[in-house]
């Protein structure tokens, strides 16, 4: 697939860690049950930003509502899977591997990287911003880069003398040349070392010319998305970016903490797309925002416990904005152990993005055929 700016379609994945409370993000504000279930952890009706007569955004989602109103944001309602895990670990693992029944080692992004770059020629094909690769990006033979601090990324950067540094890097390259007969972990280390060497050189050159009029906020998700923007604009062949936003495990004290997270997220995404548009680099970017589960329908008088069905967002110039799927029923008889029952399988969402956007055959990646949504319009 080619986009009108002539660049390859690119996916930005934003992972909300801890289980975002979908009911307080996209709020069923005209449903009396919402107020019955949420005597404490509720959003005041008059502050909600209406989407239609039934649903409205959290008041801190104003920046994203602008994108929604412009038709660039799709809300995928009721996303989840059968017998949803209430464990963070397992729940995130299932979202990462598309495998609800057994523990798998390969992630959906990793498998996609392998399709995009089968011989691992460009270690920058996929970049994670954060410490440690998420399981979703791991697959045998897939190379991915993980960057803690984009500005200091590189090896032996503390060795001052240029000649000495060059010698050290040469020796490093030789020691890290993958050798036959060593163990799989040693070989993985060797490949990682070689990838880092090459990737760091390319990135350093690529990001140097970046400048922007957008002033990103000083919070982790805004800074991560700024780094995504810098690398995307550098045009070094990256097709998938991965960023994290933590803190969504709001068992307690949800009323002040959750809206703050949503405000940071919403502002960061809006700034990010503004930055891309300013650089004529937005048109080939689609963003997926997901979380491992929604939260319990009934509040616990301070926060909400782990739930099941939740929601995701897909954002970008080429996205068919609006509401997709069905908001899960709040009727007591329809709940799954007190949680929203999912109305749409998350693997269909991945398949939609993989086939309609990335141009990759989805079924081997998500493990079967799932209903896709009309989320993306081709040029």
């Amino acid at each position: 697939m080619v986009t009108t700016n002539g660049k390859a379609p690119t996916l930005v994945v934003v992972q909300l860690a801890g289980g975002n409370d979908f009911m307080n993000t996209v709020i069923p504000y005209s449903n009396g049950l919402y107020y019955d279930y949420r005597p404490t952890v509720r959003i005041a009706e008059e502050t909600i930003l209406p989407i239609n007569d039934e649903l409205g955004f959290n008041p801190n989602f104003g920046a994203l509502k602008e994108m929604y109103d412009a038709g660039n944001m799709a809300i995928i309602q009721g996303v989840g899977y059968e017998n949803s895990s209430r464990s963070h670990f397992r729940g995130m693992d299932i979202w990462h591997t598309c495998e609800p029944n057994e523990v798998a080692t390969e992630g959906w992004v990793g498998k996609t990287i392998r399709e995009l770059d089968p011989s691992g020629d460009n270690s920058l094909t996929a970049i994670n911003f954060g410490r440690g690769l998420p399981r979703s990006m791991v697959a045998n033979g897939a190379t991915a880069t993980s960057i803690g601090d984009l500005d200091t990324y590189g090896l032996m950067t503390g060795v001052q003398a240029e000649q000495q540094r060059t010698q050290a890097l040469d020796l490093f390259q030789r020691i890290y040349t993958p050798a036959i007969g060593t163990g799989p972990v040693q070989q993985y280390l060797a490949q990682t070392g070689v990838d880092v060497l090459r990737g760091a050189e390319i990135l350093k050159k690529g990001i140097a010319p970046y400048s922007s009029d957008v002033e990103y906020a000083d919070n982790p998700i805004a800074q991560s998305l700024r780094d995504v923007s810098r690398v995307h604009i550098a045009d070094v062949g990256t097709r998938i970016f991965y960023a994290h936003h933590g803190g969504y495990d709001t068992h307690a004290n949800e009323v002040p903490t959750h809206p703050k997270l949503l405000g940071d997220l919403s502002g960061a995404i809006n700034d990010f797309f503004q930055d891309l548009r300013d650089h004529n680099a937005s048109e080939n970017v689609v963003m997926l925002v997901f979380t491992e589960f929604g939260r319990r329908v009934q509040d616990n008088h301070s926060g909400t416990d782990h739930g099941a069905g939740g929601g995701a967002f897909v954002i970008g110039d080429r996205v068919n904005g609006g509401l997709h799927g069905a908001y899960p029923s709040l009727n007591l008889k329809d709940l799954e152990f007190g949680d929203l029952r999912h109305t749409y399988d998350f693997r269909g969402l991945y398949a939609t993005l993989l086939e309609q956007w990335m141009g990759v055959d989805a079924s081997p990646i998500v493990g079967g055929t799932y209903e896709q949504l009309p989320l993306l319009s081709r040029a």
């Binding site: 860690a17 801890g18 209430r86 464990s87 963070h88 670990f89 397992r90 693992d93 057994e102 523990v103 270690s123 994670n128 410490r131 440690g132 690769l133 991915a144 880069t145 993980s146 960057i147 803690g148 601090d149 990324y153 590189g154 090896l155 032996m156 950067t157 503390g158 060795v159 000495q164 010698q167 050290a168 020796l171 490093f172 030789r174 020691i175 890290y176 050798a179 060593t182 972990v185 040693q186 993985y188 280390l189 060797a190 990682t192 070392g193 990838d195 880092v196 990737g199 760091a200 933590g246 803190g247 068992h251 307690a252 616990n300 008088h301 301070s302 926060g303 416990d305």
Partner: protein, 465 residues
């Protein structure tokens, strides 16, 4: 008296502690292996690190709200004469990961680590009972919001899933009933402490807020309170197995990640059986389990079978370089370094803790590991280089091969492959033998020694413990 092989001593000290210097290994190698193990398992035989000195230099430590505890903890790991005590405190932090990031009360987070240290080698029942009363944990898993009639399951669930038995050994109903048994377990609001912040919180039991009705838990029925739940948990073979596998993964060899444990068998079932037996026979005495572990053949044969954790890499490298022996500036950089490598102490990524083994490594963390180790060994006046200058100059000159062998020994990186060894020797060959006959020659040889040490600690082999 035959003493102990130096390589075996080095292995034991890397695993049971954070590595040892060449001098320490020389001294320990004079002794019998089992005696060294007993010293490690009886930390009270050695004086504890003195905190006062650190506090006089690092004034910020006196601010209990300051974020300096991880840096101080690393300083302790470097200098303690009781390495297994400190290593086990780290183990409990792995098993019961509590993030200070969620808490607004750092003093309680620090008290938690002190509790882990005090209980380093206690029995598992004591450890869990103290954990259940730990204000940082109570806050982290919301047990302070677990009320009679309005249970909050967070603590009850993780106690079973992550802290004791593992998935597949209990039902959702056991979780609900465990949560009910811990209703009313909360903490006091911290008292302000002028001019600095506040005192740590303390455990508080509110009988009024406790659900005293009958509960059924793991097949037993009674009006259980929290301690009853823990007493039932520690009797379970599932608990013995889960804890044994954690100890094996931490001290012996890298296992798959924890969520795979209920359907992927252990790497070494016999080893787990040995540890389970030690647990069941001793009623969960950690000392008994570790004695069985360190004295076993499976442990002695597991050299370099583990990827070093960031904390092991940082502390081990600082020890090799001879740094941080005094409360000198730069300690906060040590804590920042482990965090950049993926292991922020008191900042685990989630309640599931850190993924270990191969998962410590990706492009970003490998970069951090290499750069940290290289920077630590850059100073030619550091112990690491100074001692090698001493030993290599004793022979007048030293060949490139002698240089490499001495540096390999000094870094404890005796697992270097033949290929790596040849690459190192070849890199040192163009400059010829090291000489020490003039001050300038000694200086230039010292620089070459430092560079060689840097190359070794940036190698693949150095990533393994």
């Amino acid at each position: 008296m035959s003493g102990t092989d130096r390589e075996l001593v080095a292995h034991l000290m890397r695993r049971a502690g954070f590595g040892a210097t060449q001098d320490e290994i020389d001294a320990l190698a004079q002794r019998e292996y089992e005696d060294i193990v007993e010293d490690l398992l009886n930390p009270e035989r050695f004086t504890a690190p003195e905190e006062d000195v650190a506090r006089r230099y690092w004034i910020a430590l006196n601010n209990p709200d300051g974020p300096n505890y991880p840096a101080y903890w690393i300083y302790r790991m470097v200098n303690t004469k009781r390495p297994t005590e400190e290593k086990m405190a780290l183990f409990w932090h792995h098993l019961f990961p509590t993030s200070a990031g969620k808490s607004s009360d750092p003093p309680s987070s620090n008290v938690q680590i002190e509790t882990f240290r005090r209980n380093a080698l206690a029995d598992f029942e004591t450890i869990l009972k103290d954990l259940a009363r730990d204000p940082a944990m109570i806050y982290f898993l919301d047990n302070s919001d677990n009320h009679n009639g309005e249970p909050n399951e967070n603590w009850g669930r993780e106690l079973l899933e992550l802290f004791s038995m593992g998935v597949g050994n209990y039902t959702e109903s056991d979780i609900k009933n465990a949560a009910r048994a811990f209703t009313g377990w909360t903490f006091t609001q911290p008292i302000p402490l002028d001019p600095y912040a506040r005192y740590p919180s303390e455990f508080l039991y509110l009988a009024d807020d406790h659900d005293d009705e009958e509960k059924t838990f793991l097949g037993e029925t009674g009006s259980f309170n929290g301690d009853d739940i823990i007493a039932i948990i520690v009797k379970q073979t599932a608990t013995a197995k889960f804890l044994s596998r954690h100890l094996y993964n931490f001290f012996v060899a890298d296992e798959p990640q924890v969520p795979a444990w209920d359907n992927v068998p252990p790497l070494d079932q016999d080893a787990i059986d040995t540890l389970v037996k030690a647990y069941m026979e001793s009623k969960g005495e950690i000392t008994v389990m570790l004695r069985a572990l360190f004295n076993s053949e499976f442990f002695k044969n597991a050299r370099f079978k583990k990827v070093k954790s960031p904390t092991e890499l940082v502390v081990g490298t600082v020890k090799i370089a001879g740094g941080m022996k005094f409360p000198e500036p730069g300690h906060t950089g040590m804590a920042a370094a482990t965090a950049a490598m993926g292991q922020g102490l008191q900042l685990p990524p989630t309640v599931e803790g850190w993924h270990t083994g191969k998962e410590w490594i990706d492009g970003g963390t490998l970069t951090e590991r290499v750069n940290f180790a290289v920077n630590q060994l850059s100073d030619t006046s550091a112990d690491s280089t100074r001692k090698l200058v001493e030993s290599l100059s004793a022979g007048g000159t030293a060949s490139p091969t002698q240089l490499v062998e001495a540096c390999v020994a000094a870094t404890g990186c005796t697992n270097v492959t033949d290929e790596t060894r040849s690459a190192l020797i070849e890199s040192a060959t163009p400059e010829g033998d090291l000489s020490f006959d003039t001050e300038a020659a000694t200086e230039s040889s010292a620089a070459r020694i430092a560079s060689m040490l840097q190359s070794i600690v940036s190698s693949i082999e150095y990533q393994f413990a």
